[in-house]
Amino acid sequence: MIKVKHINKSFDDKKVLDDVSVSFEPGKTNLIIGRSGSGKTVLLKAIVGLHDVDSGEIWYENVLFNKLGFEEKKEIRKEMGMLFQGSALFDSLTVEQNVRFPLDMFTKKSPEEKAGRVNFCLERVNIINANKLYPSELSGGMKKRVAIARAISLNPKYLFCDEPNSGLDPLTAILIDELIKELTEEFSMTTIVNTHDMNSVMEIGEKIVFINEGVKCWEGNKDEILSSDCAILNDFVFANALAKQLRNSGR
């Protein structure tokens, strides 16, 4: 289980996270939702250690992660995979090399074993016959899927996804959501997804945390979110015209 306790983070004078505490459920798809600029990405990057927090604790099982040194963090990081907002594939490497990179760096597998694992991961995310392509030759959806394949190549315990649907059309976005949910169940991972997409919330949200201006305002599941009495959350959930109409019609 991943737990964050009373974390605070500021950039210069601007407070971005204000006393945020939350537990993420193991083996489930946990969602951090909120408006753009609400502090979701900073929270996710703090959880994975890309941002140092000013105060507070980040626990992975029984390990206080944010107090570990670089070398000690490395051991836990081998159990993490992350999908970045812009995919963050290495431009100079092909699809195959991108997925193989963590295996080259951290395992002693033979070239054949690595190739087998790379092909398994790519097939699992439905990337076929693209091993030799470079990221610049891929569509946005394909890049995300390759990035997911890279993230799962070391068979991680934790998967983190920062805005997995940004820049994708609705159908591709649903495919990515479904893929994340399937992989979470298949590999029993604890997944944390940052999103402001309500489709994702309703598709895959098993535990949902709502952040507003750096403060955790609400947490619950997708069934509870529609009947919440949190006004700021309701403004966010029913932001578009269709959702407003559905709410007003009582459906």
Binding site: L50, R77, K78, M80, M82, Q85, A88, D104, M105, F106
Partner: protein, 247 residues
Amino acid sequence: MIKFLSQLGRYFILLKKVFSRPEKASVYYKQTMHELVYLGINSIGIVAIISFFMGAVITLQTAYNTENPIYPTYLIGLGTRDSILLEFSSTIVALILAGKVGSNIASEIGTMRVTEQIDALEMMGVNSASYLILPKMIATLVFNPFLTLISINVGILGGWIAGTTAGVVTSEDFIYGIQYAFIPYYITYSMIKTLFFAFIITSVSAFHGYYVNGGSLEVGRASTKAVVHSSVLILLFNVILTQLLLS
């Protein structure tokens, strides 16, 4: 002043990260080989072209400025050799490489920063500073002395061709001149300067790229800063090293 000291501190912190133990030697070796080609071999063309023409101009300038019967014409060869050996092939070539290689390093690493590729490396537990910068540093430290040697030879060749073609010096006099009063230490001096300059180009450019914050505009700015700061430092260290090595 505080900003300068803070930047200097960040530079040395980055260097400490760069020189920490690599995760996997085989991956670093491959990366270094790639950088040798990318930063070293790919620079041979520009270094050769510039050296050839600079050698030619140095010869012609020396000839036209020493047009006096009391000066033997073989001094044109000697002047060309020493100008190329002492300053041109180490310092001027380093300034050219600061433009070509330095901007390349800063923009490559800067783009990786703004597109979260460096975050992706850190996230995996890779020491991104070491993985990205150390192979470039090794590649330039190993290959730039060869570039300097190529520059010396091509520069002198350019001088010989220009001088004999223009008729300002005979082939025999030029060849006699380039051998006259030759001091082998000048090559060592040139190599030492080249190594210092290679380190400056790589580390300063990588520093500017690594700490880019923002988008493509900032990457462009970092690239410009990398070239300007590397060039100024090369000129400064040229003075210091000349005083230390030749005094």
